[in-house]
């Protein structure tokens, strides 16, 4: 089952804009390593799931993966061969909005080399550029 909200206030929402950089969710907070996006974009629930599975298969159950984003935004599509008009299409998938700097996944309990390789596999499944980051200590 792909990720999607359990309850929503409005089923269909407009595309909106995705301005600025991530001011929250841009630090590695739960794990030791993270995958940080460098661009803005929509990440679909299928891409998130593909990334999660890629890590789980690569690590074979080792370590702990934390997903830091959730697909809250619904996307609609009109069926093929449909004439113009007749209102907005039906919900086709759900996306998470990611601003530059957003941490998408975090990993804990694995050596750094493994985390680098695991996140390199995930980065290929994302529609935007992402990089590997380490946890930083507070002063």
């Amino acid at each position: 089952m792909p990720l999607m909200p359990k309850r929503v206030k409005y089923r269909k929402i407009q595309r909106g804009t995705l301005k600025g950089k991530a001011t929250r969710g841009n630090r590695v907070s739960f794990g030791e390593y993270g995958l940080q996006v460098m661009e803005r974009g929509w990440i679909t629930s299928r891409q998130l799931e593909a990334g999660r599975l890629a890590v789980m298969h690569f690590l074979r159950g080792e370590g702990k993966l934390i997903t830091r984003v959730f697909p809250h935004k619904s996307m609609t599509a009109t069926a093929s061969e449909t004439r113009m008009g007749k209102g907005k299409g039906e919900i086709s998938h759900w996306v998470a909005r990611a601003r530059p700097g957003q941490i998408i996944y975090e990993l804990a309990g694995v050596p750094e080399e493994l985390a680098v390789s695991a996140f390199a596999r995930v980065a290929h499944k994302l529609p935007i550029r992402a990089r590997f980051v380490r946890r930083r200590m507070h002063p």
Partner: protein, 215 residues
């Protein structure tokens, strides 16, 4: 412990535009305050601050205009990517009084739970401790050789160096050994499953209202 000396220069300008110009020159705006003294606007070299943070040398002697004061780096602001230092907060301290500082948690030994397939999860990667500036440990090492699957290690179990106390309560969990997670097989989704839609908040109330109207 030798306290590193940091060269700073007094800053007369403030505000976002002036600070942006400073950052372009490789400088970071800083402020020194605390202990009843005046707030002093300073400028530090970004590289110097980054090196200090890398070595975890948070207690420094700040010198500017022939003055010298003991201070602690208490906050560092970064850009959205966490690469560039934007601002540094320095708090005046007395070397004879205890300070609060974050120290990394390191593990020693191998947990039997991990060799059985469990995952060692470090809940607290760093601990805030109180101690004299001269007695700040490099890290707090915890012995995990007695941890089995589903075991926790709390602050109360720590063997702390003399003069060091942890700010968090004794029941705070530092690390735990989780049971191994199972690799899930990707199941093919039935088309009707993909079409599932979330429940709409307030849909019931709306239906009731429309039913009443039609009556």
């Amino acid at each position: 412990m030798e306290i590193p000396q940091v060269e700073a220069s007094p800053r007369e300008v403030s505000g976002s535009r002036a600070c942006r110009r400073l950052r372009r020159q490789g400088l970071a705006p800083a402020v020194l305050y605390g202990r009843g003294g005046p707030n002093v606007l300073l400028t530090l070299h970004k590289e110097t601050v980054a090196e200090l943070l890398e070595r975890r040398e948070l207690i420094v002697q700040v010198s500017w205009d022939g003055r010298l004061e003991d201070a602690q780096i208490t906050e560092v602001q970064y850009d959205a990517f966490g690469d560039e230092i934007l601002h540094v907060d320095l708090t005046r301290i007395s070397l004879s009084e205890s300070v609060e500082v974050a120290v990394a948690v390191a593990t020693r030994g191998e947990a039997p739970g991990v060799s059985e397939g469990g995952v060692l999860e470090i809940v607290q990667h760093e601990l805030r401790i109180q101690c004299l500036p001269s007695a700040i440990p490099e890290k707090i090492t915890v012995d995990i050789s007695g941890l089995n699957i589903a075991d926790n290690l709390t602050v109360a179990d720590l063997d702390l160096p003399p003069g060091v106390s942890v700010v968090a309560g004794g029941e705070t969990v530092i690390l735990t050994v989780l049971p191994p997670s199972e690799v899930e097989e990707e199941a093919e989704l039935a088309p009707e499953e993909l079409l599932l839609e979330p429940e709409r908040i307030g849909a019931e109330a709306e239906d009731k209202a429309s039913a009443e109207e039609s009556e």
